[in-house]
């Protein structure tokens, strides 16, 4: 039943849906170059959605359940919805650099559909909504990966991502069916009561295991990560940038809600499972990244490693006793936010190099500082922040995660995180060294010089703005990260968790 009052809280989602449909209609009725108009429509929609998000927050900061308990509007969902609106807006500006008119409208419309799915997913309070939202998020993303459909690599990446994603969805539904069979409810909150009354019998653990496997696919945790490097490498760069941050962080948000709400009675088992997965993910992601020579592939493995870091936070969450204030959740929120911005920025700089040299190879970064100083400086910020060097935001993110892991008594996991971060310095700093301390190859320099007019045209001011915003935020949240953490803590305090 839709209560008229409920609709007031989902105005941001309705605006995002309206934007997607407007873009499609616009594409049908106009001709010619529509790039700036589609960017304007999408940005205006996302901007007003963000405005409505803050104008219509629940009174007294409490969680409000809508649509017969299907959706919840709380600080937690508002935190993530803000991040997703920002990421989708950046991705559309990024896409305008990369795509000509017609594919850009497809890109923007599919991006808005995916954004809608992510916004619903972080507010899902029922398995039915969670499943529909996760599919609304994922299906457009498969298409985004294959958007440059005249390239074999792109289609292959889309096909792999789609096949594994569909398989993961099937496993998720199977897990949900088990959970429903055991508890007789699809509501996340009521599932917890049902699970608590059954204790940790094997069937509950089986249901939990299926759901963890499925969400492990969505966040790209080892051993369910195999699709990630292929998908990022084959996807057009703006799509790779969005896929590596948006759907991953949204799935992580659902995972944190599931372990703190629906399967909270099994917290001890969840911690063991997630701690092992997190350790494997950090180790394998970082080691495999060292061997990569393609920058998008390297960022793919790097994103797997960062999934591991976030999973440490989630494992620490479930270790906390019920009734305590979930120390780990705000650290996961913080990490998700800063991870998204720095990884997105790294892909944006990778595109600058791609437009200049027609290559995604790491060697193309050689001497970038001489060619274009600002992207090189921004890339240095992203790489150092991803490594976790103070005073950048990636350092604070890791610090908070470490703190919650130690508080939860997961010392060995904290040690693994530190050691793998040191390993990660090897491949992140290699990019910095290439950019600043080495001269470019003669052929690369020649081709860069030949392409100079095209390159300067290809990387316009709007794209520099994307790089600048993400780099600025990465620096700023490192210096004044306390403010973002305070927001994350307030968001968690007023949430259905």
């Amino acid at each position: 039943m839709i209560e008229p009052g409920d609709l007031g809280y989902v105005v941001p989602e309705l605006i995002v849906l309206g934007t997607a449909l407007t873009l499609l209609l616009w594409a049908a009725i106009t001709r010619g170059d529509r790039r700036w108009m589609s960017v304007s429509i999408a940005l205006a929609g996302n901007g007003s959605a963000a405005l409505m998000l803050f104008m219509r927050t629940p009174a007294d900061g409490a969680a409000v359940e809508l649509f017969a308990g299907q959706l919840v509007v709380d600080g937690y969902s508002t935190f993530f919805r803000t991040l997703f609106l920002l990421l989708a807006s950046l991705a559309i500006v990024f896409g305008a650099q990369r795509f000509p008119s017609a594919p850009l409208i497809d890109f923007a419309a599919l991006l808005q559909f995916s954004l809608l799915g992510m916004m619903l997913l972080v507010g899902a309070a029922d398995w039915a909504t969670a499943f529909i939202a996760i599919e609304t998020m994922a299906i457009p993303v498969y298409v985004l990966v294959g958007l440059t459909r005249f390239r074999r690599a792109s289609l292959e990446a889309a096909m792999k991502y789609f096949a594994l994603g569909a398989f993961a969805s099937a496993v998720l539904v199977y897990g949900i069916a088990w959970s429903y069979g055991l508890t007789g409810t699809t509501s996340l909150a009521e599932t917890a009561d049902g699970i608590a009354s059954r204790g940790d019998e094997p069937w509950s653990l089986f249901a939990l295991g299926l759901i963890l496997v499925a969400l492990g696919f969505k966040v790209a945790a080892v051993p369910f990560h195999a699709w990630t490097p292929d998908a990022y490498q084959g996807a057009p760069t703006p799509a790779a940038a969005f896929v590596s941050v948006g759907p991953k962080v949204a799935a992580m948000a659902l995972l944190a809600r599931v372990v703190t709400l629906a399967f909270e009675p099994l917290a001890a088992n969840i911690t063991v499972a997630l701690a092992v997965i997190a350790a494997a993910t950090m180790i394998l992601g970082n080691l495999a990244a060292i061997a990569q020579s393609d920058v998008k592939r390297m960022l793919g493995y790097s994103s797997i490693a960062h999934t591991g870091y976030m999973l440490v936070g989630v494992a620490a969450v479930s270790q906390t006793d019920a009734g305590a204030d979930f120390v780990g959740v705000p650290s996961v929120l913080f990490y998700g936010f800063v991870y998204a911005l720095m990884t997105f920025g790294a892909f944006a700089v990778a595109y600058v190099v791609e437009a200049q040299t027609d290559s995604n190879d790491l060697s193309a970064f050689r001497g970038l500082a001489r060619r274009s100083m600002l992207p090189a400086a921004a890339m240095a910020v992203f790489m150092l922040s991803l490594t976790g060097v103070p005073p950048l935001s990636g350092f604070l993110g890791k610090l908070y995660i470490l703190q919650s892991a130690v508080d939860a008594g997961l010392g060995w996991l904290a040690v693994t995180l530190v050691v793998t971060s040191v390993v990660s310095a090897f491949y992140y700093l290699r990019v910095v060294v290439l950019m600043f301390m080495e001269d470019e190859d003669a052929p690369a320099a020649a081709s860069a010089a030949a392409d100079a007019p095209a390159a300067s045209g290809a990387v316009a001011d709007a794209h520099s703005a994307v790089v600048a915003v993400t780099a600025g935020a990465t620096v700023a949240f490192g210096i004044v990260g306390g403010g973002l953490l305070a927001w994350a803590q307030a968001a968690v305090a007023s949430s259905l968790l």
Partner: protein, 214 residues
């Protein structure tokens, strides 16, 4: 299931016919005949739902499985060249996965059919038979669930399907030459190949490429 002679006759007919049709489906050589046997199975399974009092499920079964899924199979078969079927019988490796799964299903059917009190206890949900008959039937119960408790996912599903349709159209649309040419890397290559870097010349090159196959 009403306990009268007509229902029993219908049940045994449906049971025999659906088992026979499924055996036919996996044993005939021509895939089109296989698909048609599958339609027969689906209609008979719908019959089971009907005599169990789930009229809506029976209609949905026919509309979705017989109407949509089998048609999809037939479309796929149309794209294959079926004139040259292999002579020898193919025994593939899925058989060894299929046999244990079939046995598992058989055990499951026996356990549920035997209906121990424990099993009956564990099969619960929002709509036990008493509630369903109170609401006036299975279609009504489904409507109550769909339009009261699950309105949001129901509406969300339509958005998801719209997104999926848009995505399918985007992927399947004809690739136009200017799309390739406008792609920066391609543009750079075209300009390098022609020794020209002005956009106008690249466009001409793209047009020439478009016209050449005709």
């Amino acid at each position: 299931m009403p306990d009268n002679i007509e229902t029993h006759l219908a049940f045994w007919y449906l049971a025999a016919a659906s088992v026979a049709a499924s055996l036919l489906m996996v044993s005939v050589r021509n895939p089109v005949h296989s698909a048609i046997s599958l339609v027969v199975v689906i209609f008979h399974v719908a019959g089971f739902f009907a005599i169990l009092g789930s009229g809506f499920l029976a209609v949905a079964q026919i509309a979705i499985y017989a109407g949509a899924i089998v048609v999809l199979f037939l479309f796929t078969l149309m794209m294959l060249d079926l004139r040259h079927l292999p002579e020898e019988r193919v025994t593939h490796r899925q058989l060894w996965l299929g046999i244990p799964l079939a046995l598992l299903l058989a055990v499951e059917a026996v356990v549920i059919g035997a209906g121990t009190p424990e099993v009956r206890e564990s099969i619960k949900g929002a709509f036990p038979p008493a509630t369903v008959s109170e609401l006036g039937g299975s279609a009504e119960a489904l409507a109550v669930a769909l339009f009261n408790d699950y309105t949001l996912p129901f509406l969300g599903a339509s958005v998801m399907l719209t997104a999926a349709t848009v995505g399918a159209i985007v992927l399947a649309r004809r690739i136009e030459e200017h799309e390739r040419a406008d792609f920066p890397r391609q543009r750079a290559q075209t300009s390098a190949a022609n020794g020209a870097d002005s956009a106008a010349q690249a466009e001409q090159a793209a047009q020439a490429a478009q016209e050449s196959p005709r």
